[in-house]
């Protein structure tokens, strides 16, 4: 076995006797109390919190601790997750009072011995931490999230629609949306108005309006020009505060409003 350089802290180099390599990570003595909201709409009237003691390292995420509890302490925890790398948008939840992605939030950054996880606000609960996205997806569909143009069928002899890097820069930020729903959970208007389109839908409306391949701007502006549409936004900025992908829905909404107010054509 080749001898190498210094190993990271917590790792030990095995002896040179030729025995099987065994890297050992010294377990941390650090633990946190994880409070998980439990609610089964078919059986329970209200949610309750169960507390678990969970060990963690510098790199442990909230999702890691929830899965640790699910594996070893309570198999019945209902949680939605998938990619574990802030790409799929599945694991959105309220962590210590703020909507965050569980896979993207380290225990160490929360700076607290008690971590409370609850399902996202303004969404119906399926069970425990998993919420229903039907309304958000149907609102997203209402925004016609596709390129609208008469010549959308590529005829023979033509190539793809050309777009310069500058044209792409105008909308690519808003195309980064992973539909995690954190923005809708943080929005103060969504907290009270169940018919509000929401920051996710409005930002996606702007994504297509700003795309120079799209010719459906007037159609989309007509859809959002209502009390429970774009005018329900009052720029509290909470959506942008919590967005894990830098979509900045608040920016998209204010830029979109410029079209309705006549500042943009």
């Amino acid at each position: 076995m080749a001898k190498g350089g210094a190993l990271p802290k917590g790792f030990e180099r095995p002896s040179d006797s030729g025995s099987q390599e065994k890297y050992e990570v010294k377990p941390s003595s650090k633990t946190i109390t994880l409070r998980i909201s439990k609610f089964n709409p078919e059986k329970d009237d209200h949610s309750t919190f169960l507390e678990f003691t969970v060990p963690y390292e510098k790199w442990t995420t909230v999702l890691d601790t929830i899965l640790e509890v699910k594996s070893h302490q309570d198999h019945s925890i209902g949680v939605r997750y998938s990619c574990r790398q802030a790409t799929c948008g599945s694991c959105g939840m309220i962590i210590n009072g703020k909507p965050r992605l569980a896979c993207f939030t380290k225990i160490s950054e929360l700076d607290s011995n008690v971590v409370t996880v609850e399902p996202m606000n303004n969404f119906p609960i399926i069970r425990d931490l998993a919420v229903g996205f039907e309304r958000m997806f149907s609102t997203h569909k209402r925004m016609k999230p596709y390129i609208i143009r008469e010549d959308s069928e590529i005829s023979s002899g033509t190539k793809e629609f050309l777009q310069s890097p500058e044209d792409v820069e105008k909308y690519i930020q808003f195309a980064s949306c992973i539909k995690c729903g954190l923005c809708n959970s943080a929005c103060p208007t969504m907290a009270a108005d169940s018919t509000f389109i929401g920051p996710q839908g409005l930002a996606q409306a702007y994504r297509y309006v700003a795309d120079n391949r799209d010719k459906g701007k007037d159609e989309r502006l007509r859809i959002i020009d209502e009390r429970h549409g774009i005018w329900g936004c009052h720029f509290a900025g909470s959506c942008s505060q919590v967005c894990p992908k830098g979509v900045d829905p608040a920016m998209g909404i204010q830029l979109l409003r410029g079209y309705l107010l006549g500042y943009r054509k």
Binding site: T189, A192, D193, S194, T195, F196, D225, E226, R227, H228, G229, W231, G232, L260, L261
Partner: protein
């Protein structure tokens, strides 16, 4: 519903315009009060003299209309977010409109009667 009479973007343009213009008039109103000296400006005769000045009466009337429109539209916006449903939304919209008209009528009565010396 209001949105069937007027698009929400038009209502909001009115909301912004009334705010901007009202700010100007409120500044004039406060300057007139402050330059007269706070205690003097509240004397009955001093107030009546102000109302009898036609330009100042116009400023007051304009402020009344602009602030009523802006204020009650703001209240409508808040109330519409608290609860939804056609009946409720219609009630709130027309209720705010009625309150706006009532306040403008009541305030205009004061301005017109005071400026015409019917005190």
């Amino acid at each position: 519903m209001m949105s069937s009479i007027m698009r929400e973007s038009h209502i909001m343009k009115i909301h912004y315009l009334t705010a901007l213009v009202a700010v100007g008039f409120v500044i004039i109103h406060i300057m007139v009060r402050v330059t007269q000296g706070f205690s003097n400006s509240l004397e009955f005769e001093s107030v009546i003299a102000n109302y009898k000045s036609i330009p100042y009466a116009i400023v007051l009337e304009a402020m009344l209309i602009l602030i009523s429109v802006h204020g009650f539209n703001g209240l409508r916006i808040i109330l519409l977010e608290l609860k939804q449903g056609n009946a409720y939304e219609n009630a709130v919209t027309y209720g705010c409109l009625a309150a706006m008209i009532a306040l403008i009528a009541y305030g205009s009565r004061t301005i017109i009667m005071a400026s015409m010396g019917m005190v």
